[in-house]
Symmetry: C2
Subunit: 437 residues, 2 copies
């Protein structure tokens, strides 16, 4: 696999001891980026890299002038209050900084004594949005999700004819995307029961999560210039977890003919850490179409390189209710899935998004769409798990849910593991629903 | 009409003579804002106000310290390279600056000698985007457009059941919005003819314009806090013209079930000048529902103030072909309509957009949706004018069009006129289609 280099070596150990326990999300093979500061402080937010249970403060590292060339240019950019400038530098810079950090954090590195002063415990920090998201696009890449949701609305014809040809996507709202820890009131809006004469107004009754991967664009493209499938790695900076909250009853009444709107834009939550595309190299997947399915059109295919853009990222969802918090009980995991089930790859999303000349910019975010797997238990939303709210699920403590209740904290985690490689994780995204205002 | 004040007085004259000819879009009663610099220069872009055939350079005015209090604070903000900060200051600041500018530009103003040095001829400037558009939402407020387009797809059921209850809107792409003068290659993409077995890939064959009003948000709202209908004037900064280019054949194949995507995001073009909400006060319209139509739900209605948010803005569309340019012929006007036909008002759009807690930010833009009037000749798109491409229209020079050809320059104008008030205009938005790459 040509994507693998010395930074992925499973035998690497860090002088930060907590990075070597085999359980952390953040071993030296990961090195994800976030924007942070000390909790409750008035410090400026700046870039950081996770290593074990610590954050390496990139503002300190940049000032130390430890690195040279592209790596030093990159760390100066990554030390800013948002990662956009760093993301826009491109793959050579990203890769140079990853190598420099990997070398400097290894056991025996001469930089250890200097870098020890740049560590802050993760337990003591708070996060901001990792970048300014200029535009957010949500895709719909899980054929299992599209089929399950389609079946609820159209039992005889669940999957629309364009699905296997077009990587379906639509524009989302960037302003209401927040970082893990975001809270928001239950949205209000218009709904109409199937048997009602007229719509009514009130708090959403079918509030749901959606388990997604966020894909961050690094280097952009000029208006009019498409990004070819084979070039997508030059433009994909990294990945995080993403909860695309959904108000199912609002959506059902509003979405024809132009798509979801108020059902989605009240809040969306990302995890703080962006795992780089390079860190995920060991977890790339080759893909192929079933014989019964159409081959993608030429601009969405690349026969010589079908490793482009598919990834095995395992994800799960847990619900922590108010009652669980009061009793000190653990959150209840309700499903687990993987991004490897995606019908369309990241490379196909990027190529499709730009084939008409649409320009992507550093920090733009693509949602993968809800990542449901082939079995019912791998569903990425309550809409699917409860079959449209008809079959309640039972949580570990005996409580039941069809849709989410006020006070529910929804927690998503993600990780990658494979023999011969270090397990790396995404941390978590969590967010709590407040009562309607 | 409580919205009218001394800045709207039809008898006001400016010491800038070109503002007084009765034909200019920019008399002293207008005073719209743009971001400009001298054409072809390396000057910094900064805020300007149109007066007659001149631009008043707000960077110069801010430095002159001519104004005091809110007006001086406002002009300092408006002198920046984007208008977002000024837009975020709120209505008291917008209004103070408008009054100060109106007084300083009147015949007899003591400021004349100082301000003369701040004038730049419009013929010598170029424009940038007036603000950074964080998020762009496109509405669908013309019931005539919705019905005409719906009829093409669903002859027996043109208007969907939610239309008269929900101000339908969807999220658009901000990155590809450009200012008048923008050019872009004809988009490519997937299309599927009704009788074709499989889709094909190539340049769009049904490229269209859409005649819209752009509504710019000034002061925003916090996530979770809805903007009440009655408060919308505190948040609406101003208006411009907007061409929401559309690839009809791409749209037909891609838009189910999540709405338009690549059919829209290859380019969208705004006019450089933003006419303030206050300048439009004389052209507000009261509105009412036909007896046969449902009354809006409470959050979309305000019985005591139905002047909120409806405006009589006349708009037209012209096509200038390559052949016309080669022969020096004038562009051919193909339709004229007015924003007064909108089924939903600006106040209703703002209240609906935020009723679920969605946060708007200074510089966000709302598209009105295509503004077609009640008669066929008032259609705001070629899709409607040519009845889905079935009946070509004939231009002044004898050329015909079903959809747009490469080299076509589409020009939109807008203005307001009413006895007892000064005619004010929006200038124009124009943009030329290049051949597919």
């Amino acid at each position: 696999m040509s994507f693998i280099n010395e930074t992925h070596d499973v035998n690497l150990r860090s002088w930060v001891a907590s990075a070597n326990d085999g359980k952390t999300d953040f071993p030296i093979q990961n090195l994800p980026f976030a924007i942070f500061r000390r909790k409750g402080s008035q410090e400026a937010f700046r870039g950081g890299v996770a290593i074990g249970d610590q954050v390496l403060d990139l503002a300190v590292v940049a000032n130390q002038q430890l690195f040279t060339g592209l790596a030093q240019e990159a760390v100066v950019a990554a030390a800013q209050s948002k990662l956009n400038t760093f993301m826009g530098l491109g793959k050579a810079h990203w890769s140079a900084l990853r190598l420099a950090l990997s070398q400097a954090l290894r056991v025996g590195a001469t930089a250890q004594s200097q870098l020890e002063s740049a560590l802050v415990a993760q337990a003591e920090v708070e996060y901001d949005m990792p970048c300014t998201i200029g535009d957010y696009t949500d895709f719909y890449t899980s054929i299992y999700h599209a089929t399950a949701v389609g079946r609820l609305f159209r039992p005889d014809n669940p999957l629309l004819p364009n699905y296997k040809w077009v990587p379906i996507g639509y524009h989302g709202r960037a302003s209401s995307i927040g970082v893990s820890g975001q809270t928001f009131p239950r949205p209000k809006g218009q709904t109409k029961a199937p048997d009602a004469e007229v719509p009514s107004f009130g708090p959403c009754k079918r509030l749901d999560y959606e388990l997604e991967v966020a894909i961050y664009i690094g280097k952009g493209n000029a208006l009019g210039n498409a990004i070819a499938l084979d070039d997508s790695d030059e433009h994909v900076f990294g990945f995080s977890l993403f909860n695309d909250w959904s108000a199912r009853d609002l959506q059902a009444w509003e979405y024809q003919p132009l798509g979801p709107f108020l059902a989605k834009n009240f809040a969306s939550t990302v995890s703080p850490w962006i795992v780089s595309n390079e860190a995920l190299a060991p977890y790339r997947q080759t893909w192929q179409r079933d014989a019964a399915d159409p081959q993608p059109l030429a601009y969405l295919d690349s026969a010589h390189n079908r490793e482009l853009g598919a990834y095995d990222i395992i994800m799960d969802v847990a619900i922590e209710t108010e009652q669980m918090r009061a009793k000190g009980e653990s959150a209840s995991v309700v499903s687990q899935s993987s991004f490897k089930h995606s019908y369309w790859t990241v490379a196909q999303m990027v190529a499709h998004h730009t084939v008409n000349g649409c320009n992507l910019q550093p920090g733009d975010m693509l949602g993968s769409g809800t990542q449901s797997g082939p079995s019912h238990e791998e569903a990425g939303s309550l809409l699917e798990l409860t079959r449209g709210g008809k079959e309640a699920i039972t949580l570990n403590n005996g409580e039941t849910r069809t849709f989410l209740a006020d006070g529910d904290n929804v927690i998503m985690r993600g990780w990658c593991e494979k023999p011969g490689f270090a397990r790396i994780g995404f941390g978590r995204v969590e967010s709590t629903i407040l009562a309607a205002q």
